[in-house]
Amino acid sequence: MDAKVRELSYSQAVQEAMAIALESDPRVFLMGEDIGVYGGAFQVTGDLVERFGPERVIDMPISELGGAGVAVGAAVTGMRPIFEFQFSDFATLAMEQIVNQAAKMRFMLGGEVSVPLVMRFPAGSGTGAAAQHSQSLEAWLAHVPGLKVIQPATPHDAKGMLLAALEDPDPVMIFEHKLLYKMKGAVPEGHYTVPIGKADIARPGKDATIVATSIMVHKALEAAAALAGEGIDLEVIDLRTIRPIDRETVIESVKKTSRLLCVYEAVKTLGIGAEISAMIAESEAFDYLDAPIVRLGGADSPIPYNPDLEKAAVPQVPDIIASARALVQGRR
């Protein structure tokens, strides 16, 4: 069956996924700050409160810790909450419930419960919101066994992965880059899922592999297009899920290209790039490497306010072009 495909923005795609879920599953409800008549800080919930009512699109008080715990409690007692953090930075207030409760409850109770909780985290820099509203904290949560952590990069995946998350019996943390919300892309109508834990080869190539996450997928694709003019053929992998990582896709790609560049917006140090690099070093792909692995990540600083500094704090297309070119030309 071929569903009709339209152009939707990323935020429309997320909203459509939530609408489908609210429509089809009485267990699903939304909670978050200002997600009702306000429509959400980034207008992702939009008019859902008018369509599904305030009992299922719940405006909660500014109580991230308590609210996250309420979502956990509802999840273990038969509901399918979708919890929206207004900014991913505010998850720091709720870490206790996410890390100690949601992630561990099933384990601590010997499998007697599941925690089918979906949390959405508007993340990333580029909006001039400075240090406390621009972070990319996905690796924090990906360090916690029991959680699944995804970063859809396209409107298509944003909808399909949210619907997949709602079918998942375990807590799924969705990091949505704020700059992607307005990005448009092809989105099929109706219900479909994009599997969690499966990376996407966004651009096949042979000279080097770029493993990118979230908005960096688009920057990597832009860099790859530019370098194609120089005869450099890059493969771009959209990792999509950072826990569990799709080891197979990344390893096979590196075996093919022999070169690896990891690109992510979060702070480079101790980040997802380190994990991918170590994973390759430990895998059979090691014997296929023809150059050292390169990481491009965020600066070891909070996100600055000044727009030029803000741009400089995270990888940009020219950075990716320079790194990929040096890597392929054997200068790294």
Partner: protein, 342 residues
């Protein structure tokens, strides 16, 4: 109303709530469970000191009436969240001691298959969503469970146990507020045993009565003698019925005392031996309840001895079950991290 009738009514009012609300059989059952909690914890403590149980444990010896009184009006499918001092809650809500011992011994037959231990003891089938190692960690979860009950319109009430230490956590305040604004069927129970580890409530808490904090969240708040089963059961019944009617949450503070230290490594430096002895001698909830039962003719000395003997046998069998149960295999270490690995 005639003067005689008035007098009769007044007399009835002097009979403690429990003796009006429950049958003698039910009351004897409560005594059985009180002893079961006490002996379970003593058995666990003994096994711990012998090195059969590792980690640590937090004993609620002295707080049995609070757990049983609060759970008295609950139905089988009502739910509770519990605390690190939660053995009594677990038994009060209906768990079996053999599977609890097995959990403490880290065995596959334990309620958490050896993954949780004392601090995470749970019995989901009986409505206990689990003890919690994080102070106040269970409070928002209870509110979430109550939100589920309201959305599912299934009539369930959720009881949320926590200690005096938790009442200064942000999660406590956030949770009470949300429960109140959404009128959720939840009963908050603060078991005030006087100390958050070593810090007394006098030193940690601005209000004298923790129940007073209910006023900030527009819900009823009562303080009761937590060592008086009947008083606790009465307060709980009032709150549970209010919750079930859809009128929203309540806060109950049960004032009680733990005879043992905070955990097994406690040296009791923050309180005096005299204080501990006074609570043990004068305000032990089991002694109080036994005296009351005898006063109202519900049980005699022989009956009490029979209860004790039955409990001893149950505990001995439970420990034996735990000892002889299989331990989880190392290869199963990743089980239950995610659902599909089961």
């Amino acid at each position: 109303m005639s003067a005689t009738a008035k007098k009769a009514a007044a007399g009835a009012a002097n009979v403690p709530f429990a003796f009006r609300a429950y049958t003698p059989d039910q009351l004897r059952g409560v005594l059985h469970k009180m002893h079961l909690i006490r002996k379970f914890e003593e058995g666990a403590e003994d096994s711990y000191t012998r090195g059969l149980i590792h980690g640590t444990m937090h004993l609620s010896i002295g707080q049995e009436a609070s757990a049983l009184g609060i759970c008295a009006p609950l139905k089988a499918d009502d739910q509770i969240t519990s605390t690190h001092r939660g053995h009594g809650h677990c038994i009060a809500k209906g768990a079996q001691v053999d599977r609890m011992f097995a959990e403490f011994f880290g065995k596959t037959t334990g309620y958490c298959k050896g993954r949780g231990g004392s601090m995470h003891i749970a019995d989901v089938s009986a409505g206990n969503l689990g003890a919690n190692g994080i102070v106040a960690g269970g409070i928002p979860i209870a509110v979430g469970a109550a939100l589920s009950a309201k959305m599912q319109k299934n009539g369930k009430v959720v009881v949320c146990f926590f200690g005096d230490g938790a009442n200064n956590e942000g999660a406590f305040h956030e949770s009470l507020n949300m429960a109140a604004i959404w009128k959720l069927p939840v009963v908050f129970v603060c078991e005030n045993n006087g100390y958050g580890m070593s810090t007394s409530t006098a030193r940690s808490t601005a209000v004298e009565r923790i129940a007073d904090r209910a006023a900030a969240y527009a819900m009823p708040g009562v303080t009761v003698n937590g060592n008086d089963f009947s008083a606790v059961a009465e307060a709980s019944t009032t709150a549970v019925e209010r919750a079930r009617r859809g009128e929203g949450p309540s806060l109950i503070e049960t004032k009680t005392y733990r005879h043992r230290g905070h955990s097994k490594s406690d040296r009791n430096r923050y309180r005096t031996k005299e204080e501990i002895e006074e609570w043990k001698a004068m305000r032990d909830p089991i002694n109080l309840f036994e005296a009351e039962l005898q006063q109202f003719g519900v049980i005699d000395e022989a009956g009490i001895a029979a209860v004790r003997a039955a409990v001893e046998a149950e505990i001995a069998a439970g420990i034996e079950f735990a000892k002889t149960s299989p331990a989880p295999a190392a290869a199963e270490g990743l089980n239950f991290v995610y659902t599909e690995l089961q």
